[in-house]
Subunit: 352 residues, 4 copies
């Protein structure tokens, strides 16, 4: 029997991606959807906006959800154990808390709870053991449910390849420059006049997130990782896919060839939405490229790519010793896909 | 009386920019032009390609050069003291040597001679004293003329703001990530299918140039600067303007506010094509932006912008201590404009 | 002595273009500016939005207006004879009426009054005689001032080359397909996700305007022109410049070569902002092109291009007999520039 | 048992699309591939160019063809009945003739043979009966094989929706303006500097093709259709998908609602690659849009969209009476997909 799930903020870019990726899901069944357009069907509510906020959508709303009625987040049935939240920041916080209090497990893409000490911030291939925080959270907050967070897209995309590096060589310093897609700004989001023939070298709050969130993910359950990190996060004119240039000072010398092997061998989760190879390493000098590689990553779901991170140009340089490029799909791996993967992990670990 | 000048490779993107920027020049008069299309007029030879390889050109070839006949590089009159070379790499080398031998001073944008020990590699605001190498070059090579090189565009754009930093604090490490415009690839250059909705994180030879050329420019006439440098050079979808994210480890602590002041006060050359403020510092959190700032920079020439570098987001970070963004126009400051500025410097210093 | 002018909606895309094009104007002096940000200086009010809504702006607000204080539209001094309105549709209507009633001559780019029978809708090179409607308007409305309208950008760009055709051959049918720039949608305007790698084949109200406005402009002062017109107006991914494909069935046979000559010879106004050749005809098979030709057009103002319309591919086809392409700059010729040109015409004709 | 097929020009954009669309095909088995890179495997030959010339490709060459060796076109085994040709124009002509003479049935996307009287030019949903020309061709040329052509992409995309119009109302005049994608220019194809922030209103030979090819397709096997047609074919900045604005003068009055119904009901072929609904009609005022609708069209092949044409904005206008927009995927419906569909039709009709 399938696990019933709800989607919050189901009409937005993230919500639409949840709708697409949960279509035909073997374990999860969308039973309740919430957004501002109360009482409308999903088709009526999303209609004209469907598929506009990111790439790779079919031209029509999937049949399975077309006539489902939008309800309020707080009207979600108590018998739905798992809730995916695509709510916007600041709005998400109190609603997610309320639902967790009522007994739901909320997997959230919003930033609001990410940095709370007893909230797991999870990249399933990197720190699944942080789910143990759920017990701590429930005890502390006297909740039946729980909140589990997926990280900011940018952070997720470089934390994944950083994991085998930190595990094998230790990391002292990280410098990251990102070239992020417009779909990261939501819809309508970035004005076309702002990004056509342009780069906008600032995305509000993003650089702080790369610094603080990555340390939480790559640290132990009790303590953030201790490297120092500086980044510039830039918006470039791509639809989907964040490309990140990463320079890493390791504690032990990290031979580029060895790093390459470790990344190639980095294991997947075996979960439905998780790719067989979470890190794809390309050897071509000019890869990864945003448009060519953002949909890489095969798992058990034959319809969806974009769950792998593609790494390339791994090399030993004269400053930090190690540098590489990491590319991921911001609304799949760095978005709804990561949340669904966390949901699948929670399911396997019997939390739902 | 004006100084006669010649332009080599006059039909290409660089050549066209020379043609545009020397239109109405108060000191230089274009007297000879060379390219492959021997015997044709400039209009016939360039015709359909005029203005296509970069932004900001008038829709028509300027009148002054329209009917001038294209000759071979080696047919340039001996009485033309100054030659601007927009020749492609590898082609440039032997032709420029031949012309220098014949007595011309060749200011080249090609890479071929840049790293030769007795060839000055000049950013006029940064290392004008390197022109002293001309004497050494003439002596060593028994030439009447000389070769003087302008650096690679990317290098020029971060070397300028790095100058006050190295002078005041010393520099140990530099990490640079660049987001470069398509006009850097020449015309026809980058295929549209390669860059639309894409980032190409590799530009052949570019990263090596940032490393080696910047050390030569920022070093003394006898010895390169001794910092270490690593970079990723990426092509993004902008027409003109390279945006560069620069992280710098200084020897002495460099307070961001102090750096800002030093950059703002960095003096211009006073030359016709040189801007009053070679480094423009912007305080907005989201500047410089490629499309908005690439044409910044007023000098005595009222028609041409793009000779200043715009710096922004100067800050103290937790890794290297200092980071900033630098933006410049690759075919003006990093292209023909820099060569013309070198020509004006040579004129003022009585080399021509 | 200069004529004092005011600008309404001075912070928007149109308003900014007025500010730029009136900088250093030999006859007009901006004395009053209005927008929503009462009491702020122009720099404070526009600041971060300056230059973002169209191309070709300097990176900074011009000095002359930087410290001017924003006032309310209804607080404009009575001694300012001429008011340029860049107000948004629906907002513009009552304010412009109020100002005309008070004695100002308002030149408006808004649609609100365009189709009123006693309001002149002017392309200065096409139907300057329609200014006679001012007397009729004043009499009918008992106003001291008047309202004069500039047409919709798209309409202006094909009406200009249609004028010599209708005058010489008569016009029965017109079919137009447009490829319009994103700056036509204002700022922030068109979302980047809507236009990247996309065409949006609909712009609200635009097709109706091409039909009704062009007939008013090309008709007599008493009666619209009688041709039939159908159009599709599409948004494509260009920053500035509307390219229009025009198919025309003439009453008398219109030889392509003859049409070409008539367009080339079509006279300018001799006014400061008006180009010497309002219609530039190009012979290349692949012109006009949006980026290459949108800034064409030299007048007495050396700093501003974009006031000419560029026509190309004039030919005799097997359906209607005549077809051609017309390209114009939507925020210059089809925007503030046309309004300023109307202002200059009013000045020459002693209306102000 | 599967039918063996060969692909000519297998490394180009068209060839790659054949490779992708024939992957796992239930009736066709790729047994031979040809291109210039003799003796190399497909992976070696295509390698770095794979997936760059159009959208929607996986990041890697499919396994089934990766190690297949490239041979010369004239070395194709005689027992391969069906050959798909993605050869470039002018090259294609003699090679295709030679292969047809040897007994192969060649389905070609090249223009070389399209207009020959005895060569069927086929859109399978529109004029399958033109395949009868094969007998005539064989008799006349004494060939065992045959040449069958697929039309130019642009033509295909408006001929499909024009079919129910001509059948039900008759057609007198057609005016078409197209906005075509860069992938239509092949790879490397259109320079990025030519199309960024630009429209290029000319594509060599394209307008003539829309005129002559559409009349052949929509005519009888013996005589072209007799309407008159004029078009402007423009390149806009989209990756895939041609959007076409079509104005039609019908013989009998064509009510827009009735046209809509006829198009919606237009039947598919029932073939594997053919969509259930070859013409999708959308009711939204702003559709079809290139990025949102180019991949529309479900058939029996669950992996490939892009075989339907999407029509929208069907209306009765004041000039011709009928106008609509038609959008199709130029490298799928207008490319390899159409050729494969022709191949499937030939298979069903027992030609292979």
């Amino acid at each position: 029997m399938k696990v019933k799930v709800a989607i919050l903020g189901v009409c937005g870019v993230l919500g639409q991606r949840f709708v697409q990726m949960l279509n035909g899901h073997p374990r999860f069944e969308v039973s309740s959807i919430s957004d501002l357009y109360l009482g409308k069907t999903y088709l009526e509510a999303t209609g004209n906006k469907w598929g506009k906020g990111s790439g790779g959508f079919d031209e029509n709303v999937p049949d399975y959800i077309s006539d489902m009625e939008i309800c309020s987040a707080t009207d979600i049935d108590r018998d739905i154990p798992l809730v995916f939240s695509g709510l916007p920041p600041n709005v998400a916080g109190p609603i997610e808390s309320e639902l967790a209090k009522r007994g739901h497990i909320v997997v959230s893409k919003a930033k609001d709870h990410r940095l709370e000490e007893d909230v797991p911030l999870i990249v399933p291939e990197v720190n699944p053991e942080h789910l143990d925080l759920i017990e701590r959270q429930r005890k502390k907050r006297s909740w039946d449910g729980a909140i589990v967070c997926a990280p900011n897209c940018t952070t997720s995309i470089f934390s994944l390849p950083l994991k085998p590096v930190i595990d094998n060589f230790g990391v002292e310093n990280v410098i990251v420059t990102t070239m992020q897609a417009i779909s990261g700004g939501g819809y309508p989001g970035v004005p076309s006049l702002d990004i056509t023939d342009n780069v906008v070298p600032y995305i509000g709050g993003e650089e702080e997130k790369t610094r603080v969130e990555s340390k939480k993910i790559l640290g132990s359950i009790d303590k953030p990782a201790e490297y120092r990190l500086a980044s510039y996060c830039c918006r470039v004119h791509t639809i989907d896919g964040h490309l990140e240039c990463v320079f890493v000072k390791t504690n032990k010398e990290a031979d580029a060839e060895k790093v390459k092997r470790l990344m190639k061998d980095f294991p997947g989760t075996g979960l439905y939405t998780g790719p067989v190879r979470p890190i794809i390493v390309r050897d071509e000098i000019d890869r990864p490229q945003t448009r060519l590689d953002r949909l890489a990553g095969e798992g058990k779901n034959p319809y969806i790519g974009g769950m792998s991170v593609t790494v390339g140009r791994i090399r030993n340089d004269e400053v930090f010793g190690l540098s590489f490029l990491s590319l991921g799909h911001n609304t799949v791996r760095g978005g709804a896909g990561e949340a669904i993967l966390i949901g699948e992990l929670l399911d396997r670990e019997d939390y739902v």
